[in-house]
Structure formats: C-alpha cells, structure tokens
C-alpha cells in the first residue's frame, strides 16, 4: 500500500479556506485517494474520495494533479467545528479495503 505524507499540523482562522496537501509518490494505477476527518474520542468520518482531477461535494473539494503523486483537500470557509485531525489514505477505494492511516494533519481553527 502506498505511503502518504502530510503536514503534522496546520492553523487557520474562521472563514478562511484551508488546503491540506498529501504526498503519495508510490500510488498505484488502481488506487483511489480518500480523506477522513476525526474529532477527539470519535471514529473517523469519510469526507471525500477521488481518482483524478477534481471532486467536489457539500463539504470539501479534492484536487488531484495529472501525475497523481499528490492531492489537496480544500475546506472552504472553515469554522471552529472543523478543528479535527484529517487523514489522507490511498487504496483500492472499495468498502472492503484495509484502510491504512498515517498520523494525519491536526487542523486548529481559531476565532
């Protein structure tokens, strides 16, 4: 499974756009990129998944360049409630995949 690298922590202010970049140099041809969010003492929550170019849903956008060796999770206009740990994962994208979590990016949103 491809290893991912992401910043340990990021700080932001309410209302700003936050971009978290993840590096996955050894991503396989059939791998998808998936992001999860986790609040303290809760299980991770699926945010978004993509294979190439751009994917957008009601909470985030995921940008994937043509070489797919990195990806960027974009959170528009963050609020205090977006303070959490964000994990970038790569894998076959199916519900049966063994999710391999790194240490994630701890995002702190301040007033």
């Amino acid at each position: 499974l491809a290893k991912t690298t992401q910043p340990i922590s990021m700080d932001s202010y309410e209302g700003q756009e936050v971009n978290i970049t993840c590096s996955h140099n050894n991503i396989a041809t059939n791998d998808y990129i998936t992001w999860y969010q986790q609040f303290p003492s809760q299980g991770p929550r699926f945010i978004i998944q993509g294979y190439k170019t751009k994917v957008t849903n009601e909470v985030a956008s995921l940008f994937i360049p043509a070489d797919r060796k990195s990806s960027t999770l974009s959170l528009p206009r963050v609020s205090l409630s977006d303070t959490a740990v964000y994990y970038c994962l790569v894998g076959d994208g199916g519900g049966f995949q063994k999710l391999v979590f790194g240490t994630g990016t701890r995002l702190l949103v301040s007033p």
Binding site: S41, F46, F96, F101
Partner: protein, 110 residues
Amino acid sequence: DAGVTQSPTHLIKTRGQQVTLRCSPKSGHDTVSWYQQALGQGPQFIFQYYEEEERQRGNFPDRFSGHQFPNYSSELNVNALLLGDSALYLCASSLEVEQYFGPGTRLTVT
C-alpha cells in the same frame, strides 16, 4: 438509522485478563472491520469480517480474535491483556465505498 454502534463505551481491565468488545454495523452493511487507535496515532487495522469469515488481517498477534454473527454484528476478543493494549478500539462497517466508523470503545489496561 442508528449507524454503527459499539459497546461498551469505556472499559477498565487488569493485565492478563480477557475482554470482549461488540459492534453492530450500519443497517444493510455486511462487512465489519476493527481498528486499534493508540493515543496520538492513526487507527491501525486489526481484521475484517465478511460472511462470518475473517477476510483480511493486519499485523496483530493471535491474542486478538473476532467473530461475525449471521446478523452481521461482530465481536473483538483480546486475551492476556497487556498494558500496551490500552487504546480506542474502532469498528467500521461498509457496503460499497465508504467505511462508517462507530464511536469506539476506550479500553484501559492497568
């Protein structure tokens, strides 16, 4: 829909004891995975059950075992508890793409 539920919420055990954790998957989900999350770390995959069989296993010793019942609910058993087994144990269920996680069981081994 109740989502994924786990019991108990918290548990305190002594070294050498055995523990059983329980998980009820989201309605309609037939696959259950278990993860261990130590403080400050990302979740680590323990194993996955599908159709009452262990489908995949992570790098965990045989002290960790599981079971899936016909109604898709699952149990995680840990024998001969060690201090290092103290962690948040997460259950996730899935059907197609997303894995839905429960709130976890916080296990403390003293």
